[in-house]
């Protein structure tokens, strides 16, 4: 078992694009490596439904496959968002970061989905998004931090996927 990997992680939009997008620049390589290691260890990967909107996907049905699942932004997620990242908080993010409000809204929705599905961490290429995630109570890492087998991180123990044959 790879002790440096979390038992579950939610992928930020940038990581989804980099890992599955197929461009072979450095970030894509790191993200693809992280995703491959997670699956090799049968760890669960989540993709927030708002990520599908953020990357402006056409209406192709998402794959329904083992170990990589879409987490809905549902009523519990909305309550988490309201509690952990209320509108004033999102506006503060905007004021601090300067990017368009919609970007911070997507980020907040993704973190709320991560908390809702009890992911152990968010994996993001964006340092500011990782910081915001930590502020909301969800650990966050750059994929290179997790793909490094030499590093030991204090993740909580969680049962392995029951569906894995």
């Amino acid at each position: 078992m790879n002790e440096s990997l979390p038992f579950s992680a939610i992928l930020d939009s940038s990581v989804v694009i980099a890992a599955f997008g197929g461009r072979f620049e450095e970030n894509s390589r790191i993200c693809a490596e992280f995703v491959s290691k997670m699956r090799a260890e049968r760890r669960r990967l989540w993709i927030a439904a708002p990520t599908l909107a953020e990357i402006n996907a056409r209406p192709f049905p998402t794959p329904i496959v083992e170990g990589i699942a879409v987490v809905s932004f549902d009523r519990p997620a909305a309550l988490i968002l309201a509690e952990k990242m209320p509108h004033e908080c999102v506006r503060q993010f905007r004021d601090e970061g300067g990017a368009p409000m919609s970007y911070y809204k997507f980020d907040s929705l993704i973190v709320a989905c991560g908390l809702r599905c009890k992911a152990e961490c968010l994996v993001s290429l964006d340092e500011r998004q990782r910081h915001r995630s930590e502020r909301a109570g969800l650990k966050a890492f750059h994929p290179s931090e997790l793909a490094d087998r030499q590093r030991s991180l204090p993740f909580n123990e969680e049962p392995m996927l029951k569906s894995v044959p």
């Binding site: 989804v16 599955f20 997008g21 620049e25 987490v71 809905s72």
Partner: protein, 253 residues
């Protein structure tokens, strides 16, 4: 008759004080009220099981301190948990009980109410625990929610078909299903599936009732390759993007 000291009892009905000043002990408990609730609860679960062609026996009895618990050994922990959960749901009024169990629902509700103000009742099965609440009036705010999630069916069947699921995100819960979906899920037991369902949640977000609208088994093959193919089809513009963060609007420069 006491339970074997070597075998902890898996099922128990527990009464405790709502506040620290309302301590309930074996010496002070209203024994008749607690026994009536425990007996009524077991009777209800057994009637539910019989109605679905299942057998659920309870053997032994044990009174425990702490709060005060009446415990017994179910013949099946899995079934006991499912029926204990559903019984609490019928008592809460989130769903109508099956035909023939209306009077039992009423009587057990009265027994729980008779426990009195300041007393909380919990039902416990092998580490699983749920409060048993009888609302004074039907909850005015009932939110049904259409959602999709990953879950593993662990039982499917019954005269009025139901499927029992467990999931990483929502724990264990039962949903109604039409016969076709119940049959389909009966062939997919202990395998994770993608479920679309109308669900009703309690104030804590736990699923208390609902109906399966669709269930899709996981596709065979390499999950990473499937997502790569999906991204190429669904969002091909990203293949030409050099700076993902900038394109997402995260960097202005």
């Amino acid at each position: 008759m006491g339970a074997s000291p070597n075998k902890p009892t898996d099922f128990f009905v527990e009464m405790k004080g709502e506040k620290s000043s309302d301590v309930v002990t074996p010496q002070t408990v209203d024994g008749a009220a607690l026994l009536q609730i425990a007996a009524g609860y077991v009777d209800f679960m057994q009637a539910l099981a019989r109605g679905e062609g299942e057998e659920l026996a309870f053997t032994g009895i044990e009174i425990r301190s702490g709060s005060v618990c009446v415990a017994s050994n179910p013949s099946s922990t899995r079934l006991a948990r499912e029926y204990a959960d559903r019984t609490a749901g019928y008592l809460e009024g989130v769903e109508e009980p099956p035909r023939g169990l209306e009077s039992r629902t009423h009587n057990l509700g009265l027994a729980v109410k008779a426990a009195g103000l300041g007393k909380l009742i919990y039902v416990n099965v092998a580490g699983w625990r749920r409060p048993v609440r009888i609302p004074e009036t039907k909850a005015p705010e009932v939110f049904w929610e259409l959602t999709s999630f990953r879950a593993t069916p662990i039982r499917a069947g019954g005269k009025e078909p139901r499927v029992r699921f467990e999931s990483v995100t929502d724990g264990e819960f039962s949903l109604r299903a039409d016969a076709e979906i119940a049959r389909k899920l009966g062939g997919l037991l202990y395998q994770e599936v993608e479920v679309t369902a109308n669900v009703l949640r309690d104030a804590d977000g736990a699923i208390r009732a609902g109906r399966v609208e669709d269930a899709i088994p996981l596709a065979e093959g390499d999950p990473i390759a499937a997502w790569r193919e999906w991204l190429q089809q669904a969002a091909p513009r990203w293949a030409d993007v050099d700076d993902i963060e900038k394109e997402l609007g995260r960097r202005d420069e």
